[in-house]
């Protein structure tokens, strides 16, 4: 009976086999025809259709990525040059460059890292290594999960009220960095905790057994072991900060700036804001400049992300305890 339905070999052996074991081949076949129809051809067709449609979904995502990169490269690649990177923005699209934005982004990222990394890693260490499994820890857990989902523009509003107004930093680099720190803090905490979790308990027990205190254990053994994982989380979170626009618009980063910020209290602009500004202009020449800015931004981000991936790979290889 098996081949009349065009079964796949696997199925035919399964069903044919089970029927033969019963020993009442004919009777059972008639019975099962009435209640259960394998419809193999139809099922195989459906399976193929479904597989192909999920494949197409995947393909279209990849195609979207390639198309996006391709069209931006097509619009802006010619415009990318050393002059573009070392010129200040200008009213004339052809002369406009990203010097202020590039330096602004670099300073902002460094300052953000200086604020967010110690706090984020500290919080992760506390939650993983010191906190007893208590109500507080659960509260912080839920809180961090929620913070990670708060839209970035809301952080901008918090930064505006807290740092620009209350702390009186003004619309400065330090206000931007503090705002960005709040934004990436949940990301750093979550990834650092994951990294700490992968360090085997045995390492801690060995240190405790030798009489080390908790902090000594963490500082000398757990943190170094978790470092690659923590670093890759930090890099990814900073790359998120580099690409973020909305909160900095909120706190009032400038869109036209003809100088490089020299102190944390100076005004600033960053690459995404420069891109945003050029994108909102109607003239095509500014769109070309925006595309060129995007190319620089994406090149930066891809390099940084590749670094994180390399670290993670190294980490995975090393983490086989």
């Amino acid at each position: 009976m098996s081949n009349t339905h065009g079964m796949t070999p696997t199925n035919s052996t399964i069903f044919g086999g089970s029927l033969r074991i019963q020993g009442k081949k004919k009777a059972l076949t008639n019975h099962s025809r009435a209640t259960w129809q394998p419809r193999h051809r139809w099922r195989a067709f459906n399976a193929k259709l479904f597989t192909i449609s999920t494949f197409l979904a995947t393909l279209s995502a990849v195609a979207a990525l390639i198309y996006l990169l391709h069209s931006i490269a097509g619009q802006g690649l010619e415009r990318v040059s050393w002059t573009f990177m070392t010129s200040f923005p200008s009213r004339f699209a052809a002369k406009a460059g990203i010097k202020a934005a590039l330096w602004g982004s670099a300073y902002l990222t460094l300052l953000t890292a200086a604020i967010a990394v110690p706090i984020g890693v500290g919080a992760a260490v506390y939650l993983e290594e010191f906190a007893a499994d208590s109500k507080l820890r659960r509260l912080v857990d839920i809180n961090i999960a929620n913070l990670a989902g708060v839209p970035s523009i809301v952080y901008g509003m918090l930064g505006l009220m807290l740092f620009v107004r209350l702390c009186n930093f003004g619309r400065s680099l330090i206000a931007g960095a503090a705002t960005m720190s709040l934004l990436i803090l949940p990301i750093i905490i979550v990834s650092a905790r994951e990294a700490l979790k992968t360090v085997p308990m045995g390492i801690r027990h060995a240190a405790f057994g030798l009489g080390a205190t908790k902090w000594q254990t963490v500082r000398a053994h757990v943190l170094p072991a978790a470092l690659p994982g923590i670093l890759s989380g930090i890099i990814l979170s900073l790359s998120r900060a580099v690409g973020e626009t909305a909160p900095l618009l909120m706190i009032g980063a400038l869109s036209y700036m003809a100088f490089v910020p020299e102190s944390p209290l100076d005004a600033f602009t960053v690459l995404p804001i420069q891109i945003f500004n050029w994108s909102t202009r109607p003239q095509d020449e500014f769109h070309v400049a925006a595309a060129a800015g995007i190319i620089v931004l994406l090149a930066l981000l891809l390099t940084v992300n590749a670094l994180a991936i390399l670290l993670r790979m190294r980490y995975q290889r090393k983490a086989q305890w």
């Binding site: 399976a47 979904a57 990525l65 919080a123 010191f130 839209p151 523009i153 709040l182 973020e244 995404p272």
Partner: protein
């Protein structure tokens, strides 16, 4: 010995402070928004905010009916969901059930790149590529339109849905699937009728997170959808979302302390409340999902 203990106590306090900061940030966000929101509602009544259907904060007579902004936001969120949710689920299922390991190893990093592209870049892509393409197909399309924003936000949430679905499907124990195969089901039937239902809460959580992300998305929407507060279902028209209103006011020359300036905090509060509700729901679902198999 004593120094070590003092250091220990000090470090523990310092680390606790770091952890507490995350709670302080949440409290800070709520206080800041609440304070300004209450200020706003001293002037504009709740009845007007939720009762009127005209949003005209800049011109006399001012009107603060939130529905056009909410409508614009939901139009784009739903559109993005229509693209990102089935697409993302499809990718997740393909990666988890059908893709050969070598292909998976290529596609996963590509999706990460897609996820890492800044939102302002998506906005630029919408304005310079998607909108002109839409205008070629549908000449009625306005320069700024909801459809273009929805498409681009849909692409943006695609990798997020895909990777969360992939994780959820992956967590389904192999034995559950093997049971399906043993009953004679095809690979595809197991994927749809066994694995998918088993991972359902995690998958739905990923849908909710995607909608929440689309709801709070700012830059792409600001660039692509324009700034016309309008209650419409026509995706080819320009709309304004809650978030793009906030950007419009904060980048404009609205004086601080004026009522339209305060209005952005009321709008921000609404964004926060809605996304928090979404996120809590997803969190609860994922927790439930975990307790099943671990």
């Amino acid at each position: 010995m004593k120094i070590a203990h003092i250091e220990e106590a000090f470090v523990k306090k310092a680390l606790l402070l770091c952890a507490a900061l995350s709670v302080i940030v949440t409290v800070g966000i709520v206080i800041v928004l609440l304070e300004e929101t209450i200020d706003f509602f001293r002037v504009v009544s709740l009845g007007e905010f939720f009762g009127s259907t005209t949003w005209a904060p800049m011109f006399e007579p001012r009107q603060f009916g939130i529905w056009p902004l909410v409508g614009g936001t939901f139009l784009i969120t739903l559109g993005a969901g229509l693209i990102g949710i089935p697409g993302g689920l499809g990718i997740g299922m393909y990666l988890n059930e059908f893709a050969p390991a070598s292909l998976r190893a290529v596609i996963k990093p590509l999706l990460e790149i897609l996820a890492g592209i800044p939102t302002v870049v998506y906005g630029y892509f919408a304005v310079t590529v998607i909108t002109p393409a839409l205008q070629r197909v549908l000449p009625d399309t306005e320069v700024f339109n909801a459809a273009s924003a929805a498409i681009v936000v849909g692409i943006m949430v695609l990798p997020m849905v895909a990777s969360l679905c992939d994780d959820a499907l992956r967590a389904v124990p192999r034995a559950v699937k093997e049971a399906g195969y043993a009953l004679g089901a095809t690979k595809c039937e197991v994927a749809i009728q066994v694995t998918l239902p088993a991972a359902l809460s995690g998958i739905i959580a990923s849908f909710i997170l995607a909608l929440s992300r689309a709801f709070g998305e700012t830059m792409a929407v600001t660039l692509a959808a324009g700034s016309t507060p309008r209650l419409t279902l026509n995706p080819l028209q320009s709309v304004q979302t809650l978030t793009s209103y906030i950007v419009q006011v904060s980048t404009g020359d609205t004086p601080q302390g004026s009522i339209e300036y305060k209005s952005i905090f009321a709008v921000g509060m609404l964004v926060l409340v809605v996304t928090l509700l979404f996120n809590m729901l997803a969190y609860v679902l994922v927790k439930r999902f975990r307790s099943v198999y671990e």
